[in-house]
């Protein structure tokens, strides 16, 4: 039962990734893309967690932790870049 639910949830999360990627490519301003990229990293961390449930492999949790860390660092770096007005 858990495997079936995990597969369904993976399909739903794939839809969420597609919607967020639409905003990432479309977004009118730079900060829209930053927000979309932040949400994309968070969603993919959750996707990895669900994938660990679906395959019964617990080693994928570390990937989710690392992805959450790197996504946060990317958001901070892009925001700093935008706040300086595009100058590093």
């Amino acid at each position: 039962m858990t495997q079936v639910t995990a597969n369904v949830v993976m399909v739903l999360l794939g839809g969420a990734v597609v919607l967020t990627a639409y905003r990432l490519f479309r977004g009118p301003t730079f900060m829209d893309r930053v927000v979309a990229l932040d949400l994309l990293g968070t969603i993919v961390a959750g996707f990895i967690a669900v994938y660990a449930i679906a395959t019964d492999q617990s080693v994928y949790i570390r990937d989710a932790i690392v992805l959450a860390v790197v996504s946060f660092l990317g958001t901070v770096a892009f925001s700093y870049y935008a706040e300086r007005g595009g100058k590093p």
């Binding site: 995990a6 969420a16 927000v35 961390a45 959750g46 617990s58 949790i61 946060f72 958001t75 700093y80």
Partner: protein
């Protein structure tokens, strides 16, 4: 069996909130409301998925790592969205027309009240009179206008 049921419920709950966050990011009108959808709803959804992961494997090692994911998301989502919102405002993005309050803009303009960001007259020759009657002397140096 009961653990499986709780795990399935948490998985569906998390997927619902994550999809809601993605729909909000697509549908909301400006960057601040999009950030509101992404940070709150997305964080709750992924934390729910991480708790389901910890319940599914049922060992203390995995549960601690799942709690680490949850703790990290709870720590970084407010910080990240705050930094991104401030950077968006300071790089010249303004809230959409339907917004009714702009506290950071009032602080940057030197006012203490909150009023809509309607009529900023940056180089007014006389005293600026805001909506609620607060007088700002024109000899005060205006704050640096953000880049447009």
């Amino acid at each position: 069996m009961i653990t499986d049921a709780i795990t399935c419920g948490l998985l569906l709950f998390g997927a619902l909130f994550t999809v809601t966050a993605a729909v909000g990011v697509v549908r909301f009108p400006d960057v601040f409301t999009r950030m509101h959808a992404a940070s709150k709803s997305g964080t709750l959804g992924v934390i729910s998925l991480a708790v389901a992961l910890g319940l599914h494997f049922g060992s203390a090692d995995i549960a601690i790592q799942a709690m680490l994911i949850s703790l990290f998301l709870l720590l970084t989502a407010p910080i990240g969205s705050h930094i991104a919102a401030r950077a968006a405002y300071l790089s010249g993005i303004r809230p959409c027309r339907e917004s009714v309050i702009d506290t950071l803009g009032d602080q940057l303009d030197g006012r203490t009240s909150s009023s809509p960001p309607a009529d900023h007259s940056p180089e007014g020759p006389t005293d600026t009179n805001s909506e609620d009657g607060a007088i700002i002397p024109s000899d005060q140096p205006l704050p640096e206008k953000p880049r447009g």
